[in-house]
C-alpha cells in the first residue's frame, strides 16, 4: 500500500512545484506591469458615399512572450497561443469574406480598405519560423487546425495544388510565406461563433454586443479577419509576444425600408442612422476585461472637403482644445451624442483635405444608460472616396470550353489624374504596379502568350514589365503563379495584361458534385508599392495610443483584389464509366482476336478440311493415303 502511494505523492510534489513556478512567473509578470496580457475593443463607423455605412470592429489581444508567464493565459485565447507555439507561426492572416468590396464607391486608398477588403471566400497566408523543408508540413497541420477551429473547409488548402509560394510580390515578402484561397467557401454564422469565442467577453458585453447575426449577414459586404503576429524569436529588440488582431468589417444599408420611401423625393440625402437602428442593439456596459473600449466615427477626406467646416483653418487649435462646437453641430449633420475627443488628421501628401475622427468612450455608459450614437443628415451631400491609383478588374475572353484568355485591366481613376498633375514637372514619372495571380492547374496558362496593352495599343512586353516571376502549374501538383512588376507611365489611361490558357480536363472523381457550376479562379492581387495608405492623427498622448489608430498609422502598401472568375469546364458523362470500360475493352478484344486469328490461320488446314469433305463421299482409304502423302511431302520440304 505504501509502495503504491509513493509515486502519487511524488507526482503531487512535482505538480505543486510546477504550479508554484507558474504562479511565481505570473506574479512577476504582474509586477512588471507592462508585460500584462491586454485586450481592447474598438468600433469604427464610417458613412460611405453610396448611402451605405461601414462598420469596422477591431479587437486586439496581446500576450507577452510565453517565457515570462509560463503556461497559462487569463485573457489571450489558449487555442491561438498553442497554435503559434506548435507550428511556429511568425505571422498569419485568415479572412472569411462574403460579398465583394466595391473599390469604386467605397474607396481603396485608406487603411481600412487596403487591409480589410478581402477576396470572397477564405484567404489564408502564413509565415513560418521553421526550416525551409518543414514549411509545407507546418502549413498542412496549420490548415487542419484552423479548419477545426473555425468550422470551415480550410483543410482543402492542404494539397499542394491549392496553395502557392509567392516569391516577392506578396506584401510580407520572404521565402517562408504560403498563400492559399478558397474562393467558393460560403461564410456564415458557424464561422463567426468560433471567432467570437476567442474574445474574452465573447459577444456578451460592450461593443461585441452589437454583433447581431441577422443584421450582419444582411449586409452587402462582410469580412471577418484574424491576424496574428508573434515575435517569439527575440532577434529584434522589441519582444512583444503574440498580438492577435480580430477585425470584422461590414457594409450595411442603414434603415433600408425608409430609404426606399424617400428614394424618389430626397435622392441625395444620406440616410440618417443610429447604432440601434442598424444593429438592432445598443452598447450597454463595458467588457470589464477590456483595457479600452471606444467607438469612432470617421468622416473621410472627401466628405470633410464637401462639408466645409467653417473654421477649418484653425483645426489644430480645435484638436488641442476639444471644445470647438463646430465639429459636431454642423449645418449639414447632427450627432446624437457629444464626442469625447476629436482627432484631426495630420496633413497627408496625397490629398488636400483632412479627415476627422470623433471618439466616444463606452466606459462611461452603463446598463441603465446604454450608448447609442446616431447621425442625422440635414442637407444632401455627395462625395467620392479616395480610390486606388488604378482601378483593377479582371475578365475572361473567348468562348467555348476549350481555351480562352484572362485579361487584367487597369483603368486610371480620379486619383491618378491628381497624382499626374502633381508630378507633371518631372517627365519621367512612373507608376509601379505589382500583379500577383494564382491560377489552378486545370487552367493551363501559356505564359509565352502574355501581352501588354497600354492605352489600347499592343506594346512590347519588355517595355513595361520590369520584372516577372513565373512558376508554371503542374498537373494535380501545384498551381501556376505569376508575379509581374509593371512600370507604367503616369499618363496612362488604360493598361491591360492578357494571357491565354487552355482548359484542362479532369477525371470524373475530381469534379465537385456541382460540376456544371464551374470552377473559381482566385482573385489577383494588384498592389501599388509606391503608395502607402496611412492616416496619422494628431494625438497628445502617444503612450496611451489606441491599437486601431496605431494600426492606421502603419504604412501599408495600397492593394486591391480583383473579382473572382468562374470558369466553366467541360464535363464528361458522369453516368458512363461502365459503358466506356466495356465498349473500350470490346474494341481491344476485337483487335486482338481478329489479328491473332488472321495470323494463325493456315490455308493448308482449310484445304485438308475441304478434301476431307470431298473424301466423305469417296471413302476412307484414299483420304488416308492422300493425308500420308501430303505429310511426307511436307516433311520433305521442311528437311530441305
Amino acid at each position: 500500500m505504501v509502495l503504491l502511494q509513493r509515486p502519487h505523492i511524488l507526482l503531487l510534489l512535482i505538480d505543486t512545484h510546477q504550479f508554484l513556478q507558474c504562479w511565481i512567473a505570473f506574479g512577476s509578470a504582474n509586477e512588471e506591469g507592462q508585460q500584462q496580457e491586454e485586450f481592447s475593443e474598438e468600433l469604427l463607423v464610417k458613412p460611405l458615399p453610396d448611402h451605405k455605412l461601414l462598420a469596422h470592429f477591431h479587437f486586439q489581444s496581446s500576450a507577452p512572450p510565453s517565457t515570462s508567464n509560463g503556461c497559462h493565459h487569463h485573457l489571450f485565447p489558449k487555442a491561438i497561443s498553442q497554435l503559434v507555439q506548435k507550428f511556429r507561426v511568425k505571422e498569419m492572416e485568415l479572412s472569411f469574406t462574403q460579398g465583394r468590396w466595391n473599390y469604386e464607391s467605397w474607396g481603396g486608398f485608406d487603411p481600412i480598405s487596403s487591409s480589410n477588403a478581402k477576396p470572397p471566400g477564405v484567404e489564408l497566408w502564413a509565415v513560418f519560423d521553421v526550416p525551409q523543408h518543414h514549411i509545407d508540413a507546418s502549413w498542412k497541420n496549420l490548415t487542419h487546425t484552423l479548419s477545426g477551429l473555425f468550422c470551415a473547409s480550410i483543410n482543402f488548402l492542404e494539397s499542394t495544388a491549392t496553395y502557392s509560394t509567392p516569391e516577392w510580390s506578396f506584401p510580407p515578402a520572404s521565402g517562408n510565406v504560403r498563400y492559399g484561397t478558397l474562393p467558393c467557401e460560403a461564410v456564415c454564422t458557424e464561422n463567426l461563433t468560433p471567432w467570437l469565442k476567442l474574445l474574452p467577453c465573447r459577444d456578451k458585453a460592450a461593443i461585441a454586443l452589437l454583433l447581431d447575426r441577422p443584421s450582419l449577414y444582411r449586409g452587402f459586404y462582410h469580412s471577418q479577419r484574424l491576424h496574428l503576429t508573434s515575435t517569439e524569436s527575440s532577434s529584434e529588440g522589441i519582444d512583444s509576444g503574440i498580438i492577435l488582431e480580430q477585425t470584422l468589417t461590414v457594409v450595411l444599408q442603414p434603415n433600408s425600408e425608409r430609404a426606399i420611401e424617400v428614394h424618389a423625393s430626397e435622392k441625395h440625402v444620406q440616410p440618417s442612422w443610429s447604432l440601434s437602428s442598424i444593429f438592432g442593439k445598443q452598447v450597454s456596459g463595458r467588457c470589464v476585461l477590456a483595457k479600452s473600449s471606444s467607438v469612432y466615427l470617421l468622416l473621410d477626406r472627401g466628405l470633410v472637403a464637401e462639408l466645409k467646416f467653417p473654421n477649418k483653418e484653425n483645426g489644430k487649435s480645435a484638436a488641442n482644445g476639444l471644445t470647438s462646437e463646430n465639429f459636431w453641430s454642423n449645418p449639414s449633420f447632427e450627432l446624437s451624442v457629444n464626442p469625447d475627443r476629436i482627432f484631426l488628421e495630420e496633413s497627408s501628401s496625397h490629398s488636400k483635405s483632412l479627415s476627422i475622427l470623433y471618439m466616444f468612450q463606452v466606459e462611461k455608459y452603463s446598463e441603465s444608460e446604454p450608448f447609442d450614437i446616431g447621425l442625422m443628415w440635414k442637407v444632401p451631400v455627395a462625395w467620392l472616396c479616395q480610390q486606388t491609383p488604378l482601378h483593377a478588374s479582371r475578365f475572361f475572353m473567348g468562348s467555348g470550353n476549350e481555351r480562352g484568355a484572362i485579361a487584367i485591366s487597369l483603368k486610371s481613376t480620379q486619383f491618378t489624374e491628381g497624382f499626374m498633375s502633381a508630378n507633371s514637372k518631372d517627365g519621367s514619372c512612373e507608376l509601379r504596379v505589382d500583379v500577383f495571380q494564382v491560377v489552378p492547374w486545370y487552367v493551363k496558362v501559356y505564359f509565352h502568350s502574355l501581352r501588354v496593352f497600354v492605352d489600347q495599343q499592343p506594346r512590347a512586353v519588355s517595355d513595361f514589365i520590369e520584372k516577372i516571376h513565373v512558376s508554371p502549374s503542374k498537373d494535380k501538383m501545384s498551381p501556376g503563379v505569376m508575379e509581374v512588376v509593371l512600370k507604367l507611365p503616369c499618363r496612362v489611361n488604360t493598361a491591360a495584361l492578357t494571357i491565354e490558357f487552355d482548359k484542362g480536363f479532369l477525371r470524373i472523381d475530381e469534379y465537385p458534385p456541382d460540376a456544371n457550376q464551374g470552377f473559381d479562379i482566385p482573385s489577383a492581387i494588384i498592389s501599388f508599392p509606391n503608395f502607402h495608405a496611412s492616416m496619422v492623427f494628431l494625438e497628445d498622448d502617444s503612450l496611451n495610443r489606441s491599437p486601431l489608430l496605431s494600426k492606421f498609422q502603419e504604412k501599408c502598401p495600397v492593394m486591391s483584389y480583383t473579382e473572382v472568375l468562374l470558369v466553366p469546364l467541360t464535363t464528361p458523362d458522369f453516368s458512363m464509366p461502365y459503358n466506356v470500360i466495356t465498349i473500350k475493352c470490346t474494341v481491344f478484344a476485337l483487335y486482338f482476336g481478329s489479328l491473332l486469328n488472321v495470323l494463325q490461320r493456315r490455308v493448308a488446314e482449310e484445304e485438308r478440311f475441304l478434301k476431307a469433305k470431298a473424301a466423305k463421299k469417296t471413302g476412307r482409304l484414299p483420304l488416308l493415303l492422300s493425308k500420308l502423302s501430303a505429310k511426307l511431302r511436307g516433311s520433305g520440304i521442311n528437311q530441305d
Binding site: 468562348s399 467555348g400 470550353n401 476549350e402 481555351r403 492547374w441 493551363k444 501559356y446 505564359f447 509565352h448 502568350s449 516577372i468 513565373v470 512558376s471 508554371p472 502549374s473 503542374k474 498537373d475 494535380k476 501538383m477 501556376g480 487552355d502 484542362g504 480536363f505 479532369l506 477525371r507 470524373i508 472523381d509 467541360t570 464535363t571 464528361p572 458523362d573 458512363m576 464509366p577 466506356v580 470500360i581 465498349i583 473500350k584 474494341v587 481491344f588 476485337l590 483487335y591 486482338f592 481478329s594 489479328l595 491473332l596 488472321v598 495470323l599 494463325q600 490461320r601 490455308v603 484445304e607 520440304i637 530441305d640
Partner: protein
C-alpha cells in the same frame, strides 16, 4: 512502251508534288493558319506547337522547359525549332519559318518514301523473276508504288493538316521514314540515326527495331524463302545465287553499334541542354513518363483519354499496363508471320502504334497511310477497301462536328465525340487486320502459282 509510261508517270508525279506544295503554302498564308494549330486532331500534348513555344519561353527565362506540365517533347526540338516560334518576318504570317520547315520535312519524307518504294518494287520484281512468275503475274501492269506512296503521303489531307497545323509530327514522321529508307538502301548509320531520333521523339517508334533488323539481315521484302526452295526443288537445280540471302548478323551488329553511338550522342546533347534544369531524369520523366501514364486527359482522336477520365482510380494502373502491353503482345506473332516482309511489318507496327498510342494525332495516320502506298501491287486484292475509304472520310468529317457540338456549342456531350473516336479505332483495326490478311493471301497465291495448285483459279 514502259519508258513512255514511266515518263508520263514521272511528269504527272512532279506536277502533283508542286501542286501539293503550293496548296500548303496557300493554306499557310491564311490568317492564323485556319486555327488548325489548336485542333485536337492535329496538336496533341506531345506535338502541339503552342506547347513547344511555351517550353522555349520557359527555357529562355532560365527555367526548366519541363517546369510546368506544358512541354513534353525533346529538348533538341526546343533548341532547333524553338527560335522559329518567336522569329517573325514583318508583313508575313506569324510562324512562316516554322511552317516552311514543316513543308520541307514533308517533301523530304515524300522523296524518301519514293526512293524506298522504288527500291522495294525492284526487289519485288527481282524475286518474281527468280521465281519465274513474271509471265503469270502481269508485271508490266505493275504500278510505280514509290510514286504512289509519295503522292499519297503528300496529298493526304491528314498530312496537309498536320503540316499546316504546325505540329511536330512531320518531323517525327521524317525520322521514321529516314530509318526505313536507310535500312532499305543499307545505309546503316542513317538507319541507326533515324531509329534513334524517332525513338527519342516518340517512344513508340522503338519497336521499329525489329523490322529494321530483318531489313538489314535479309534484305527488303520478298516472298517467303520456302517458296524459292520449293521452286528450285521443282526445277531440280539449286541455284544458290538466285536464292534470297540467309540472315546475316554482320549488318545487324553494325547497326547496333551505330545505334548505340547515336543514342549516346543524342543523350549527351540532351544532357548538355538540360544541365542546369534537372538533367536527363527530368526529361525521361516528363516525356516517356508522360506518354506511358496518360496524364493529360484532353480529348483527342484516340480512345484512351475518355477511358482514363472515366475509369476508377484504383484500376488505373492495371489498365495502363493492359493497354501498353497490348502493343507489345502483337509484336512477336507479327514478326514471325511477316519476317520475310520487313517493310510491311514496319507498316503494320506503325499502324498499330498510331491506333493504340496514348496521344494519337492525324499526323500518325498520315504516316501509315503513306507507307501503305508501297504495297499497292501486293494488296490489290484487299477486302473492304471502299468501306475503309468511306469510313475514313466519314470519320474525318464527323469528328470535328461532334467536337464542335460538345466543346463549343455545349449541345452535344462527350459520348458523341468518343463515338467517332471509337469508330476511327475500329476502322484502323479493320485496316490492319485486312491488310495483314491480304498480304498473307498474296504469299499463298504466289505459292499456289509455283506449286501449280488448282486453287489459283479461286484466289
Amino acid at each position: 512502251m514502259e519508258k513512255v509510261k514511266k515518263k508520263i508517270g514521272s511528269f504527272s508525279f512532279w506536277n502533283w508534288v508542286t501542286a501539293s506544295i503550293i496548296f500548303r503554302l496557300i493554306l499557310i498564308y491564311f490568317p492564323k493558319n485556319l486555327n488548325l494549330s489548336s485542333r485536337p486532331e492535329v496538336s496533341t500534348p506531345l506535338t502541339s506547337f503552342r506547347r513547344l513555344a511555351e517550353g522555349y519561353w520557359l527555357k529562355q527565362s532560365f527555367m526548366s522547359p519541363y517546369a510546368g506540365s506544358m512541354y513534353h517533347g525533346s529538348p533538341l526540338l526546343l533548341s532547333l525549332l524553338g527560335p522559329l516560334t518567336i522569329n517573325r518576318i514583318e508583313g508575313q504570317p506569324n510562324h512562316l519559318l516554322y511552317s516552311l520547315v514543316s513543308v520541307i520535312a514533308d517533301v523530304v519524307s515524300a522523296m524518301l518514301i519514293r526512293a524506298t518504294g522504288q527500291n522495294l518494287r525492284l526487289a519485288y520484281l527481282r524475286s518474281l523473276e527468280s521465281l519465274d512468275l513474271v509471265k503469270q503475274i502481269e508485271v508490266s501492269e505493275f504500278l510505280f508504288s514509290g510514286d504512289i506512296a509519295a503522292l499519297i503521303y503528300l496529298c493526304n489531307p491528314f498530312t496537309i493538316v498536320a503540316c499546316v497545323g504546325l505540329s511536330t509530327s512531320p518531323i517525327e514522321n521524317m525520322a521514321v521514314i529516314l530509318c526505313l529508307y536507310g535500312a532499305c538502301s543499307r545505309l546503316i548509320p542513317l538507319a541507326a540515326f533515324g531509329w534513334v531520333i524517332a525513338t527519342h521523339l516518340s517512344l513508340y517508334s522503338a519497336i521499329l527495331i525489329i523490322p529494321v533488323i530483318f531489313l538489314l539481315g535479309c534484305g527488303p521484302d520478298s516472298p517467303p524463302r520456302k517458296l524459292f526452295l520449293q521452286r528450285h526443288q521443282q526445277k531440280e537445280v539449286l541455284n544458290q545465287s538466285k536464292l534470297p540471302p540467309r540472315f546475316s548478323w554482320g549488318p545487324v551488329i553494325h547497326f547496333a553499334f551505330w545505334a548505340f553511338l547515336w543514342s549516346v550522342y543524342v543523350l549527351v546533347l540532351c544532357g548538355i541542354s538540360l544541365k542546369q534544369f534537372g538533367g536527363l531524369w527530368e526529361m525521361f520523366k516528363s516525356t516517356y513518363g508522360f506518354i506511358l501514364t496518360v496524364e493529360d486527359l484532353s480529348p483527342n482522336i484516340g480512345v484512351l483519354w475518355y477511358f482514363f477520365a472515366e475509369v476508377f482510380e484504383f484500376f488505373r494502373n492495371f489498365f495502363l499496363i493492359v493497354f501498353h502491353v497490348n502493343i507489345l503482345f502483337m509484336i512477336l506473332p507479327l514478326a514471325i508471320r511477316l519476317r520475310h516482309r520487313p517493310c510491311y511489318l514496319a507498316f503494320v507496327y506503325v499502324a498499330i502504334c498510331s491506333m493504340l498510342k496514348s496521344y494519337p494525332s492525324v499526323g500518325d495516320s498520315a504516316l501509315y497511310l503513306g507507307l501503305l502506298g508501297w504495297f499497292v501491287n501486293e494488296l490489290a486484292d484487299m477486302q473492304f477497301s471502299l468501306f475503309l475509304f468511306c469510313g475514313y472520310v466519314g470519320v474525318s468529317l464527323l469528328s470535328p462536328v461532334m467536337h464542335n457540338l460538345w466543346i463549343w456549342r455545349g449541345t452535344g456531350n462527350a459520348n458523341f465525340y468518343f463515338a467517332t473516336a471509337m469508330v476511327y479505332a475500329c476502322l484502323q483495326i479493320v485496316l490492319v487486320v485486312e491488310g495483314v490478311s491480304a498480304m498473307l493471301n498474296h504469299d499463298r497465291k504466289l505459292r499456289n502459282l509455283i506449286t501449280g495448285k488448282p486453287q489459283d483459279a479461286k484466289s
